[in-house]
Amino acid sequence: MYQALNNSNNDSFPDESGCDKKSEHPYQKKFAVVNPCRMCQPMGAVQALLGIEGAMPLVHGSQGCSTYMRFQLCRHFREPINVSSTSLSEGTVVYGGEENLIKALETIKIQYNPTLIGVTSSCLTETIGDDVERIIKKFRESYLKNHGEKFPPVVSISTPSYSGSHVEGYDKTLVALLENLTLPPESEHEPDMINLIPGNLSPADVEEIKEIIKLMEINGIIFTDNSESLNAPLTGSVDFLPSKGITLDEIRQAANSKITLTLSQHASSGGKLLNKRFGVPHAILPLPIGLENTDKFIETLSSLNYVENIPPTLERDRGRLLDGMVDSQAYTHGQRLAIYGDPDLVTGLVSFVVEMGMEPSIVATGTKSNQFHEDIKKITAKTSHDPVVINGGDLYDLHQQVKKTGADLLMGNSYGGRIAVAEDIPLVRVGFPIFDRVGAQRICILGYKGGLSLLDQLTNTIIQYYYDEAGYEL
């Protein structure tokens, strides 16, 4: 194994995971993270909460936590993002954050009147040992007594930044919502809904998922649905809370669903919980990027709905994607790619580019995951490709590996821009954050339609970079 590429001491995974014998790191970097490729848990939690109608995320910590997260989110989605803070300071840290947390809940009710408040902890409050659950319970009881009305639901999510990453933070938030809000199933209820957990995706991708299930005539509850809140039209007014998204009622009713479909290996705890607690069947599918993954998704949907014929629109879109792949293959075949980002995204992208005859030469994720390594192996086993897997690494590792292994094209977030410039290769922007181009909220790579738009972008980037104006290879 090469230690250097597994230097992130994420305790939730064994250390011998995700290693690749053949790669030797140029420097035995063991301790430092240089140019991070992951965010902290509260960031994932906030992203999940922003897909709930009328919900307000509250970060229990220093002001910088919420402010810098908002900065990242604003410049990616190009939307006003509201995340409140308990504004802890030296005095409150000494005596615990209880007073600030209670005051924050009161202020949020008065100023924003949300349907739900999601309290995410931080490394600060986890270390001083605030018992957020207890504080919330006590506060809600006394609020009921003093006001004669119930305080809006408050869900606490334990997200210490010193373990895991935003990927776990997202997953934990779904669990917290389901654990706290979902009611037992009604026995005589005939299930006609499904729960759909797509994972932490762009608004346009969530919208595409919604389109597909609508075409399949399935009613889905999307955990969580940022398709409107983070891709909002200009109406002349500002929404301080997500104007649309999954509703509280939908979360409450989730146990009545026919099944939970999870499109992410790393956001599957919610589905598992519903299965364990209420017996709702649970299936995990790969993220529908590319032809085969999308087929799998649609086949599953059709089996749920007992639809024998796939809707003609989807058949057509599939045909268009295949047509596009055939048109592009001469340009894409054999191109070597370095792909980095969240594990599910990278896995999906690898599956797609392999369909196109491209070669993933390096695949990297900042969040360490055994599953990721297995998934990549599974995909590439069918091919002659043997990519270098950087599991739980950073962009410095990626850069060193690109220098060593080589790549014709980079795929990932904006932070790879400097690697692209240094190595003189193009970067196709997908993932989070994308701040140096417009339209991050509109990037759609899922389903047949998203696949086609990604394919066109990939191919045109290759043509732009490696062919002259007359169309000859440079």
Binding site: A32, C40, G64, P80, N100, T107, Q111, N146, L234, V238
Partner: protein, 531 residues
């Protein structure tokens, strides 16, 4: 607003303030030129009672300033940052240093390479370095990991210095940054500088500015280069001829290349620049900053403290400068020449001002024509809350309100001295208040940072980034032209004239045209032009 009983509990008294979460701003363009600013600050906008005295209108004869430097109300969407953030913005422009964030990864992963400051040399400062503390480090302490990380980074990157920033959790687990840095400094023979910037130390990131300056004063300015000279690029400042006319610029961070717009002006008038603290500067330039004869203080917010300390320690006098706006730039150049009492310099300054102003006048006329009479709201983090006022006046624009997220009493005093009567001065406005202020004042332009950008644009208020994200230099004469152009681009864009709603046609012209059409062969294009 109805009278409130002050004895009521906090939440009850404020209950009436719950209003719709949507702030309607239709009729954007129906702007009243005669703004009646209420005399009682309570009535400026709806907000929490505790927040009311954070807004204050400048009036003749009064010397009141808004309440400031207080804890933000918990639960608000605050625009403020943390102490680490404050220290980071001051030091991170030092280009050939490693800026290592000692803490969990999140603190580094949201803040690396966002300063927007440019370098003519090393790009090392743009990388995001973290010790990535894990649960076991929180339990057993992070000192060992910090030590190993510093040694490793020093080996790989051979930086001129490593700045180590403390984050919240480091303060709690009690890692002794100073001793670890001292120890590694001895092992590696390199400069390793602790910055005690635990995020929660204050509600005001100004403390972070000060702590950053403390780190420079204690560990860098006036120090000899380290033993390990291999990676240190130091041009010794000796008795060079210009030494009498050498100066530092404090609080200039070279955002979007601002310093590069000022540099030729200063060189032309015959001064030599020893160090810029900290824009486009190297570690060793700053180490010799104590040899300069004068400190220019550009960002008074972050660097006044440093200037005072250098005056005391090294007898370096200071003058305040402001290179935003032509008049302020001219005044600053004159002040420098006056300080050096050099007749030739005074003459050169006048010559430069004359030629630059003439050239500027010619190019700027068109923008002034577009912008004259337009109104502005300024809400920023630092000294721009006052240093921009004059620049807008020069463009014929009117500043309706100005404010900062973390001003201190002396900052607001400065603002008071600069703005006209009737201008609203705001402290620590949160997102909701900012929306209400924009809704009330309906300025043609908001000048602010990235977090406020989309709030403003969604409301149909033009926006100009004067923060880390801007794309061109705004300082000096040429910068002022860039500034005028950017403001004009923002304000004069035709997109603001487009309606956010489709208007339902009152008369269905097309249908009418078709129904009265006698000749069925007539083409559509004759009915609907352009189709």
């Amino acid at each position: 607003m109805p009278e409130k009983n002050n004895n009521q509990p906090y939440h009850e008294a404020e209950n009436e303030l719950i209003s719709s979460n949507r702030v309607n701003i239709e009729n954007l363009k129906e702007f009243e030129t005669d703004i009646k600013i209420p005399e009682i600050p309570e009535e400026i906008i709806k907000t929490l009672k505790s927040r009311k005295n954070h807004m204050c209108v400048k009036k003749d004869g009064t010397n009141s300033i808004p309440s400031c430097n207080e804890v933000s109300v918990p639960g608000m969407v605050t625009q403020r940052s943390c102490v680490y953030g404050g220290a980071r913005v001051v030091l991170m422009p030092i280009t050939d240093a490693i800026h290592l964030v000692h803490g969990p990864l999140g603190c580094a992963s949201c803040t690396w390479d966002i300063r927007g400051t440019r370098s003519s040399g090393s790009e090392l400062y743009r990388n995001g370095f973290s010790t990535d503390l894990q649960e076991k480090d929180i339990v057993f302490g992070g000192e060992k990991k910090l030590l190993e990380t510093i040694i490793e980074l020093n080996q790989i990157f051979e930086p001129a210095a490593i700045f180590v920033y403390a984050t919240c959790v480091v303060g709690l687990i009690g890692d002794d940054l100073k001793s670890v840095c001292g120890e590694v400094g001895k092992i590696t023979g390199s400069r390793v500088i602790p910055v005690q910037s635990e995020g929660f130390k204050s509600v005001n990131k100004s403390l972070g500015h000060q702590l950053a300056c403390d780190a420079l004063l204690e560990y860098l300015i006036g120090t000899e280069p380290p033993q390990n000279k291999g990676n240190v690029n130091r041009n010794e400042v000796e008795d060079h001829q210009d030494i009498d006319h050498s100066l530092n610029i404090l609080g200039e961070f070279n955002v979007a290349g601002d310093f590069w717009a000022i540099k030729p002006l200063l060189e032309n008038i015959g001064v030599s620049i020893q160090a810029v603290v900290t824009g486009d500067s190297t570690v060793e330039e700053i180490a010799q900053a104590n040899l300069a004869k004068l400190n220019l203080v550009q960002c008074q917010k972050s660097s006044r403290y440093l200037a005072d300390a250098m005056e005391e320690l090294y007898n370096i006098p200071q003058i305040r400068v402001n290179f935003f706006g032509a008049e302020e730039t001219s005044a600053s150049l004159r002040a420098i020449a006056k300080f050096f009492k050099d007749p030739q310099m005074i003459e050169t300054v006048e010559k430069i001002i004359k030629s630059e102003t003439e050239r500027l006048e010619e190019s700027i006329a068109i923008y002034r024509q577009h912008l004259s009479g337009k109104t502005v709201a300024v809400y920023v983090g630092g000294n721009k809350a006052w240093s921009l006022i004059q620049a807008f006046e020069e463009l014929g624009m009117k500043v309706l309100l100005t404010g900062t997220q973390n001003g201190l009493p002396e900052d607001y005093q400065r603002i008071k001295e600069t703005v006209r009567d009737g201008t609203l001065v705001v402290d620590d406005a949160n997102a909701l208040e900012l929306t209400r202020l924009l809704d009330k004042y309906k300025p043609d332009l908001l000048v602010s940072g990235a977090k406020e950008k989309y709030l403003s644009l969604k409301m149909g208020v033009a926006f100009c980034d004067f923060n880390h994200d801007r794309i061109s230099a705004f300082a000096g004469f040429k910068g002022f032209l860039n500034f005028a152009r950017e403001v004009d681009r923002a304000v004069s864009s035709p997109v603001w004239n487009l309606s956010p709603k489709i208007k339902a046609p009152t008369k269905p012209d097309i249908l009418t045209a078709r129904s009265i059409e006698k000749n069925p062969k007539k083409k559509v294009s004759e009915i609907v032009p352009g189709s």
